[in-house]
Symmetry: C2
Subunit: 270 residues, 2 copies
Amino acid sequence: MVGEHAIHNMKVILLKDAVVPITLRAVQFGFSTYEALRIIEGKVVHLDDHLNRLEHSCKGIGLVHPFSQEEIERAVYQLIEVDEIERASLRIQIYGGDEPQLFVTATTILSYPESYYTKGVGAISYHGERLFPSCKTGNLLLNYLAVEEAKRQTCFEALLVDRTGRVLEGTRSNFFALKENSLYTAADDEVLLGITRDRVLKAASLLGLSIVYEAPTLSDLASGVYEQAFISATSMAAMPLASLDGRPFNDPFPKILAIRDLVRGWELQD
Amino acid sequence: MVGEHAIHNMKVILLKDAVVPITLRAVQFGFSTYEALRIIEGKVVHLDDHLNRLEHSCKGIGLVHPFSQEEIERAVYQLIEVDEIERASLRIQIYGGDEPQLFVTATTILSYPESYYTKGVGAISYHGERLFPSCKTGNLLLNYLAVEEAKRQTCFEALLVDRTGRVLEGTRSNFFALKENSLYTAADDEVLLGITRDRVLKAASLLGLSIVYEAPTLSDLASGVYEQAFISATSMAAMPLASLDGRPFNDPFPKILAIRDLVRGWELQD
């Protein structure tokens, strides 16, 4: 059953024992990296891409650990076997320092009502820049506070705005805006290199959209320069935004939903 | 004995049981605050100031918890009693979210060889800005990496330089520079409001120095505009810098050591 066990340093443990000492420096300082994945039909979606990005995150912050990609892959499938997992959200987490620790945990799969896709979800803007944009690390206070503020405003996501007023990405998603036949998004080196983002770009090209690597500014978004916008993430695929800071985008969202369907369709092909 | 027990949510536990679940959102996102204190002769140095700052940090990031200052104070003295602590470094840590958790732990007191004070310690400069300058939170990846880089260069501390080239503070210290008869340091709202910083400013005034609330720029420091510089923290009191990025400051450090002595002398008076 999902959530009964976890993997700690290649050993099966009970999930309730997946804990870290608060006296550990890496825990106190958030010197950690992670990946969030999906398991569908007992298969881990785009596992290689996630393991490559995990390694990229570790390299990016100088987190040295002894776990090879092959070992981590084995750990993931060990958890799937012991808990007989068919569908789940999966998390791989590595703490660095003198005693590096690897955890693999699974929870009930994160999924959203179909209405989130047909009606879109609300987003707010939030000023702040992530420390290592291309790495998934434990340095997530900005993301936490931004999402909390979004929830307070009964919104789903907060979009992070940099010091020059550009909307780079969401707290747990990449961000895209549509204008005429073009898809606008931040350049590769400015944001998290989303594994779903890659698929979104491929799907958008297939659908005849031109890709423009230029982050929309908040002021252009606020003044209606873009017709539509959406966010992407492993759990969301492509999810349309109904509004940003209360200003509605045009609906319905046939192109965005077509991107979503292509991205979901590719989940079981690797 | 120091380090045998800990306090968790007002209960005495074994230190080895002071752990947090890695599945907890507050742990994953570093949604936490902390204080580092000193116990000397069984007394907690400046405890009220630390508890006030802890509350300030919680308010600053919207961390709501049920622990009153009186309760935390009782928890601290409970740990001192159960482990018969005379001297130690103490850490109070609060994780936020749906299930707030408070921990109090003690370790062997952090102290430094006298030569660190008579000869000074090396520092490097490191570009980066803390997210909530006045709060002590778990969002510490920048601090971690900056100190690691300092260690690689066989230095003791890294000084954080903001986007405009000003040296605001160290990763675990406040920063001061001396020029003629003046002491330069960043303004209150730009840095951690160090409890030792307060005492340093008071000591400096007593010694006849003028306080100038203006953060030294890295280029002025590099070109020798300041004669001496030092850092302050609970564990250090005032510690002279021998060099910054390899460029030596003038020695010996009679004024800085006089500040250190005054600050240490006030530790047992509250």
